[in-house]
Every structure is written in structure tokens, then in C-alpha cells.
């Protein structure tokens, strides 16, 4: 078919792709990464509403700029639309969501059910997280579950996929086909344990990892050096987390209030010295992307622009990480377009032909 985009099922955009050898999922993100292309992922700010249009509008601004969209699972322990719900909506429209699963809110029974449900809806990528503590969110009185941890969650998903079994050993009739992800934070203590922890995650089943916000590139470079020396970059795709800071004030606030985000003083100073802090924050993000994309072993970037989602396209464009490649974009298919044009012609063009006229023109 002419004009069909790569990584799209010809029978319908919402359907999974053909299985490929060496691939564990039928999704777009795994294909992009395994082809060796520099992947870009981003995060959808989950709406506090029951309107599907809110999700679609928020996803639309990423069209043609990202390879996958993270559907966050109550990040920061704040209540929003569930990641399963967002994934259900996104897969219908052909997007490639990364379903985040946090261990904070659900036990192993609920989580395994959601993994099956998500996979049945066409979610190909799942990101296994521990989740922030409930004290960080809007409902600190909630009961923290933490039945599994990110590592045993990864292993559970891997067992479901590869062995076709629940954690209990009960058989699945059709195992989920998944590309499993995890999170890394190279910027929090114990620093020398962090590379080994990535090794543990790989052993548990991680195929790609997204890092916490990287503002300290030298620190990330050291981490990547250690990870390369341990040979983990061959077993796992590493996506570096980046994002624009809105202002020096935000940076300071994040530093003292959001656990696990390390922002060096030099960054805050650079923002403080700028005329337009928001613009400088964006430029800073682009500069960091340009630095990390050169580090060997980095397979992509994860752009987290919370409440600045409209900047994602600009950041990706200006940093040039896609190298002219256009990720999948939702657009009208060529045959549909043809039908639409014909229909338009039939409906709106003033052609009133009688049989007499037809005979006349035939002669």
C-alpha cells in the first residue's frame, strides 16, 4: 500500500504488529529500539476527568514526535485516571503506550489481572515500578500496599510471558506478549550499588529502562561507564530521562520536595542568570539531550515535560535526535482518504443527470 507508515498493521492501526524473530512483543517501541534507532518516549499528564477527549487531546500534541507514551500510574501518589484506562483509550487510536505499573496500590492478584487485561487491549510495553510512598501524594492516609517490589513485579511479568504461568503456577491459555521496562535512578545513594541494581533488574526481566530526570551529565556518564563495563548495555536498552525546568524556583522546589531528583547547583545558577527562565529551561533540556545522546550505550531519551507537554515536540525537533526520522503518526489512511474524496464529490457536487442527458452525451 502506498504511503503506509512503518510499524503499522495494515488491517487496522489498533491491531498488534506482526511478530518478528527475537522480539518478545508486537509493539512499535521494541521494533524501533531493536532496529538501532534512537528512541524518544514521553509521558502523558493523566487527566482528572472521565472524558476520553482529555486523553486524546493530551496525546495529540506528541503526534509524529515520539515512539511511545508512558501512561503513568498515579505518579507521586497523586490520584488521576488509571494507567489501564489511559492505555485502553490510547491503544484504540493506535498509539503505543507504555503501561506503568506501580506496586503501591495493588497486590499481586490485581496486578497480574491488569497485566493480562492490558496485553489483551494491545499494550505491548509495560514499565514495572515500585511507586512513590503514599506520603508524597494528595492522600497520605491511604494504605500502602507494596505487596510486590519492582524486581519481583518484573519477574512476575516475565514468568507470565515466557512460562505462560501466573505466579502461583496456574497456566495461562494465551500468555501476554510484552516488552518489559523498569526505572533506574543513577543519581541517588548508594551510588556504587546502582549499576549492580540494574543488573538485578535485567536478571529479573527488564529489556529497557528509563532513567530518572538527568540534570547531572557527568554523574550519568560515570554510571554509564560502569554499566558498560559490566556488559549491561548489550542486554538492555537504556533511555535517559530528561525534561525542561520551568524556572529556578521550580528547580529548587523539586530539589527539596520531590524524592529522588538530583539537581546540581550549576543548573539552578544557570536558570537564575537567564532572562527568560522558561526558555532557558527548554534550552538546558536540549543541551542535556545533545550531551547524553553521544554517550555510548544510550538508546534513547525519555522526555518528561510535566505541564509543559507542548514543548516536547520543540525539544525533540531542536535537539535533532530523530535524525529526520518520523515516528508513527495517526493520520488518515490513503484508501480512506480516497473514499472520503469520492463521497465528498457525490454529496456536494451539483450533478443532476437525467437518463436523457446520459444518452445524449453517449452519442
Amino acid at each position: 500500500m502506498i504511503g503506509r507508515q512503518p510499524d503499522e498493521n495494515p488491517a487496522g492501526i489498533h491491531l498488534p504488529l506482526d511478530p518478528l524473530p527475537g522480539h518478545t512483543s508486537r509493539g512499535r517501541l521494541e521494533r524501533v529500539l531493536r532496529r538501532g534507532e534512537f528512541a524518544v518516549t514521553t509521558e502523558l499528564n493523566p487527566p482528572d476527568s472521565a472524558d476520553p477527549e482529555d486523553v486524546y487531546n493530551r496525546a495529540k500534541i506528541f503526534d509524529g514526535w515520539v515512539d511511545a507514551i508512558n501512561a503513568v500510574d498515579a505518579s507521586g501518589a497523586n490520584c488521576h485516571m488509571s494507567s489501564v484506562g489511559i492505555c485502553a483509550l490510547l491503544t484504540r487510536m493506535g498509539y503505543a503506550p507504555i503501561m506503568q505499573i506501580a506496586c503501591r496500590d495493588r497486590n499481586r492478584i490485581a496486578i497480574q489481572g491488569d497485566v493480562l487485561g492490558g496485553a489483551a487491549m494491545g499494550v505491548a510495553n509495560m514499565l514495572c515500578l515500585t511507586g512513590d510512598g503514599v506520603q508524597a501524594g494528595d492522600q497520605p492516609g491511604a494504605k500502602p500496599v507494596f505487596d510486590l517490589d519492582c524486581m519481583s513485579l518484573l519477574e512476575t511479568c516475565r514468568i507470565m510471558r515466557d512460562n505462560g504461568k501466573f505466579l502461583s503456577g496456574r497456566k495461562l491459555t494465551t500468555p501476554p506478549q510484552l516488552f518489559l521496562g523498569a526505572a533506574i535512578n543513577p543519581f541517588a545513594p548508594p551510588i556504587d550499588f546502582r549499576p549492580y541494581r540494574l543488573g538485578k533488574k535485567i536478571a529479573a526481566g527488564a529489556q529497557f529502562v528509563q532513567s530518572q530526570y538527568c540534570f547531572d551529565v557527568p554523574m550519568f556518564r560515570t554510571y554509564m561507564q560502569q554499566v558498560r563495563d559490566l556488559g549491561f548495555t548489550e542486554k538492555c536498552f537504556i533511555l535517559c530521562g530528561v525534561g525542561p525546568l520551568a524556572s529556578a524556583k521550580t528547580a529548587k522546589w523539586i530539589r527539596s520536595n520531590v524524592p529522588g531528583i538530583h539537581i546540581p547547583d550549576s543548573i539552578v545558577k544557570r536558570l537564575e542568570g537567564a532572562q527568560d527562565q522558561k526558555k532557558e529551561g527548554k534550552q538546558l533540556c536540549i543541551d542535556i539531550i545533545n550531551e547524553v545522546k553521544e554517550i555510548p550505550g544510550v538508546s534513547g531519551v525519555h522526555v518528561m515535560a510535566y505541564r509543559q507537554e507542548e514543548y516536547v515536540a520543540e525539544i525533540v525537533d531542536e535537539s535533532g535526535v530523530l535524525k529526520g526520522r518520523q515516528p508513527w503518526k495517526r493520520e488518515i489512511r490513503r484508501d480512506d482518504q480516497l473514499v472520503a474524496e469520492r463521497l465528498d464529490h457525490i454529496l456536494h457536487d451539483e450533478i443532476t443527470e437525467t437518463q436523457v442527458d446520459m444518452v445524449k452525451t453517449a452519442h
Binding site: 510512598g133 524486581m151 545513594p189
Partner: protein, 199 residues
């Protein structure tokens, strides 16, 4: 979007309300309120190598006593052993009686003291000073575990992926379970070595 007005979350409401009353409960999780000192726990981590050596001797002794446990009956001996185990490990490690002790794989720092009860390593929220994200005044259990494991002979056991906690084993004696399992394994090895012995 609520860009103009700052979002009022439940957490801010709680925090705002807090200073208005004279009674201020400690800003920590309920499980932490029961004890506030980490001195003994941290001593155990500092002396992880000694404890590792001691634990190895101790489990050998327990295994040696297997015929005794068997004669009295593991079910009957469970009560008193559990009583001792809870108090000893409670004092030394702030034990939570999960019933499936992995202290030797975690640098003698009990992972069940982590507010997220992580058994496979630290979360990404560890503070820059090495303290816990949830309880700012507690040193991260896993930062300590890593330090402790570096002193130990078999410290690299920290790199093993641990299975999720079996909640049905809570409040049971890990010492007796390990002993019974080791005895069963020893028996199986002996039987496979000379299969005729059973007949």
C-alpha cells in the same frame, strides 16, 4: 489548567492543619512510631561480618539439634523458639517476623524495615544524605544493607533476585523453617547417594 491557583492537595491540608493543634503526632509512618532509635540496628550492620560468622555457627548448631526438634515435634517447639527469635531479632535488627529471613543476603539490615518493604534493593527516592524518602530521619535500610554486605564474605548474595514475600508465613519462626529445610535437603542428598538405604 490550574496554573493560576496553586493546587491544594490533601497533604497540604493536613500539613496546614497540623500546627493549629497542640497535639502533633510524629511526622512518620505508624510502623516507625513504635520505636525511634536505630542504634542497635546500625551496630548490627557495622558488625555484619561478625554476625555472618556467628549466624553460620548458629544455624549449624540448630541443624545439629534437628533430632531433638523432631522428637519434641516442630509444631510444639515453634511457640517457645518464636518467642526467643522475636525478641532476639527484634532487639538486634528490628525484626518484623516475616518468617522468611534474608538477613544474610542483605548485609544484616532487615529489609522489612523499609516503608515499602523492598526486598531487592533501594528505590529511586533515597535522599542525598542517604536517608529514607518516606521517613526523613531514618537512614535508608538499603544504603545500610549495601554497606553491610561489603563487609561480608558472602556479601554478593545481595545481587540475587528475591522472590516476593509469602504473607502466609508471617509470624512463624524462620530459624526452624531453615533448619527443617536444611535437614530435609541433607536427607535427600544422603538418599540419592545410596538409594538402597531406604529399602
Amino acid at each position: 489548567m490550574s496554573e493560576t491557583t496553586p493546587a491544594i492537595t490533601q497533604a497540604t491540608l493536613v500539613k496546614k492543619a497540623a500546627p493549629k493543634s497542640d497535639y502533633k503526632p510524629a511526622d512518620v509512618s505508624p510502623q516507625r512510631r513504635v520505636q525511634r532509635s536505630f542504634a542497635v540496628r546500625l551496630w548490627s550492620v557495622r558488625h555484619s561480618r561478625l554476625l555472618e560468622w556467628f549466624y553460620a555457627r548458629f544455624s549449624d548448631t540448630f541443624l545439629l539439634l534437628h533430632p531433638l526438634w523432631k522428637r519434641i515435634g516442630y509444631g510444639r517447639v515453634e511457640g517457645p523458639i518464636k518467642f526467643v527469635e522475636r525478641r532476639v531479632k527484634g532487639f538486634m535488627f528490628d525484626c518484623r517476623m516475616c518468617g522468611q529471613c534474608i538477613l544474610s543476603s542483605t548485609g544484616m539490615s532487615c529489609p522489612m524495615n523499609c516503608p515499602k518493604q523492598l526486598r531487592n534493593g533501594p528505590c529511586g527516592g533515597v535522599r542525598a544524605n542517604g536517608n529514607c524518602e518516606v521517613e526523613p530521619d531514618m537512614p535508608c535500610v538499603w544504603v545500610k544493607a549495601w554497606e553491610g554486605s561489603r563487609n561480608m564474605v558472602h556479601g554478593d548474595k545481595i545481587l540475587d533476585v528475591q522472590k516476593p514475600v509469602d504473607q502466609s508465613l508471617r509470624e512463624t519462626s524462620a530459624w526452624l523453617r531453615v533448619t527443617a529445610q536444611a535437614a530435609a535437603a541433607r536427607e535427600a542428598a544422603r538418599n540419592s547417594a545410596n538409594p538402597g538405604a531406604l529399602a
